[in-house]
Amino acid sequence: MTQYRSVFKDETKLDINYIPYRLPHRDKELRLLMEFFSFASLAPEKMAQRIMITGDVGTGKTVLSQRFGADITREANRRGISLRYVHVNCREYRGSLFLILYHIISIFHPNFPRRGYSAEELLRILLQILDEENTYIILTLDEFESLVEREGSEAVYKLTRLQEIRPNKPQRLSLICILRSLKIIEQLDASTRSTLQSNIISLEKYLKQQLETILNDRVLLAFKPLTVLEDTVSLTADLAFSEGGNARFGIELLWRSGKYADADNSDVVTPECVRKAVSSIYAVMRKNDLAFLSLHEKLFLLGVARFFRGSQRAYAALTEAEQAYAVVCEESDVQPRSHTQLWKYLQTLSTLGILQKKVSTTGSRGRSTLIYLPRITAYELEKELSILLEKGGA
């Protein structure tokens, strides 16, 4: 019986729900959030805060607010203040204020009856519970768009103007609204909008280097030492960057690549594992795209595929691809095309999304073009091209 080996040390560190202690490239925003809520661990009854966090998919909105939630709760509890951080994904509750409020109440009273209440009554009951237990809540409404789309201004207004119906009482509920863009806010009426738009934290897309830092952090936490190649992380970061700087995509890809390495009984997560993982996420490249290529485009691509099959690298320099292409041409008994022509092929293949190119400025010899396979494994690509070339299909 073979013993089960794994490249993972702790794969839960790559789970979507894992909240890392360190948030690379979001420390400034985290500090800003802590500043906005500094009252919460000193005199929470005196005020309530409303913050909006915006940014594209995978820019760290959710993890930023969860990290903040864990930190502020710990700090407040240390000072003897009963503060709870509640993170709700509005889409999960179909954007219904009733279901969201019911969920929060059921944290305090798990068997609270589900029927017979309006959202307003639930809001009043929630405040009653918070008053009785002398507790404060920071409520994060993730995917806030869902709530606005379903409930419109009314629900948001109710949440933001709570204190007006209970003057001179402690302020119990602060809000963090997470949304992709502020466009949806335009749907709200002016008075509701004005209660929300004072504090906005916008998260920019991660740059490639930033994605590499994030991925390297997770590699240290999730994988055994020396199991993930530097090129693997770099390729994953490139792919995550091309997905709009989506760190979540990169982290999931890393996990999937690890799974492919385990399935192959490999001790190392290679760039080929990343390519396998990507081709399992996207619909595999349409074979039609390959069939319509010219003979030399196919031969060039075959050279590239063989280069990656024979190495553990994620990137090939154009000169290396050219050499591999020359060998393929020799085998096929055809005259290789010129460097300029290959450059044109590269443009075409890159436009089709079969290959990707990037300019490398590292090293001592100035700029050079690097090629990588973004969504197909070298093995599959070689197989497909060999079939097409055998059919004589140029």
């Binding site: 798990p110 068997n111 609270f112 009856p113 017979g116 009554e121």
Partner: protein
């Protein structure tokens, strides 16, 4: 009320058993689980509350019942229920 009077009712014992299992419940839900009507359930809950074993909280139109955290009788009954369930599972 004497202990034998409190435990003489099958419904009251069932109420205690339910609350020992789930923590707290509203009157209608207790009645539904007992398969008796609201009024009967309410009467038994009142007896247990008067004995200091249960307590309730009002939220709008509903009352949530649970064991009285400050009552020694409540603690003893909860322990009894737990030990009984545990022994039955063995």
């Amino acid at each position: 009320m004497n202990i034998e009077d409190v435990f003489s009712s099958r419904i009251r014992v069932k109420i205690l058993k339910i609350l020992a299992q789930v923590g707290e419940l509203n009157v209608s839900e207790i009645a539904r689980r007992l398969r008796v009507n609201y009024k009967t359930t309410n009467g038994h809950l009142k007896i247990l509350e008067d004995e200091g074993i249960l307590q309730h909280k009002v939220f709008g139109r509903i009352r949530l019942y649970r064991f009285n955290g400050h009552s020694l009788k409540a603690k003893a009954i909860q322990n009894l229920m737990e030990a009984w369930e545990h022994a039955n599972k063995r």
